[in-house]
Symmetry: C2
Subunit: 146 residues, 2 copies
DNA sequence: CGACAACTATTGTATTATACAACTGTTTCA
DNA sequence: TGAAACAGTTGTATAATACAATAGTTGTCG
């Protein structure tokens, strides 16, 4: 059978399953997906504006704006008016945010350790590499399409 | 950096990107994701009941029931009362359904051909293999959790 | 054999994530 | 300096989902 066709199918299934997993694995104390990804982005790429986050995830600014509200309220992200450009907002992760991020990260890492318990290190690395490459492609494609 | 941690992150990103792609790539004449996956399941695994489909995707029966409505209306899936057990419903793909499935499949295959244009055949196969394995794991896990 | 528990599917209702549109305040530039 | 462009927020609509209530069917046990 055609590899592309199978791949396409497997990706569709993957999307469904991951979506399902998100719900059933969501532990109460952990950050939800949007908060987790936002904090990850802020932790990695320093302070960002709302629009930059929206661009990172290819989501509408309004969506990010709403997702931000609870995590700003919870004190995980600090929000200041931009100094140079007062339209912008400068979002940065707080120490509490970093702590929450680490906790969730560890909890998820644990999950993946169980999930991939019998995978060799080589397979894990290989999968990671290919997935990264695929993700980059997806991003490029989506940016073109906009 | 820890491979598991990176993998976990990459999967989260993947879920987001694929979700985004679903919206921007949805061509008008193509089947939507749920219809596509349902037809795929019916084409591969013969006639199924609503509950069996729900189990396949780890979704609530009510969700499948609703997703079924438009594709039954469109004549892509035939719906009969089960002969032995009249509570059940017997869903099977119709010739029109097969045609629609093939068209969407081809359209998606094309998309993946572009997306993975510069991947070697070996990489594609490798990615497919690892993804399949990961998907199986996810399913096992989710079934346990229910 | 008949009542009741268990099961299959549908429909009602609520929630969540998202986009688009309308609006406010800020900046840039002709 | 006024108009167009831009950043973000809030209002509104839609789609996908889960859970609850319900209807019809089956199976079992006293």
């Amino acid at each position: 059978m055609d590899v592309l066709q199978e791949l396409e199918r497997e990706v569709a299934v993957f999307a469904r399953r991951v979506e399902g997993a998100r719900q059933s694995w969501q532990r109460h104390q952990d950050l939800d997906r949007s908060a987790y990804l936002i904090l990850l982005a802020l932790a990695n790429d320093g302070p960002l504006a709302v629009g930059q986050l929206a661009n990172t995830f290819q989501l509408d600014i309004s969506t990010i704006s709403r997702q931000l509200a609870p995590i700003v309220d919870a004190g995980l992200v600090a929000k200041e008016r931009g100094e140079i450009d007062k339209r912008q907002v400068r979002l940065s992760i707080t120490p509490e945010g970093s702590a929450a991020l680490e906790a969730t990260r560890e909890s998820r890492r644990q999950l993946y350790a169980e999930l991939l318990a019998d995978w060799s290190e080589a397979d894990r690395e290989h999968f990671l590499g290919l997935l990264k490459r695929f993700n980059e492609r997806l991003l490029e494609r989506q940016q073109l399409d906009r």
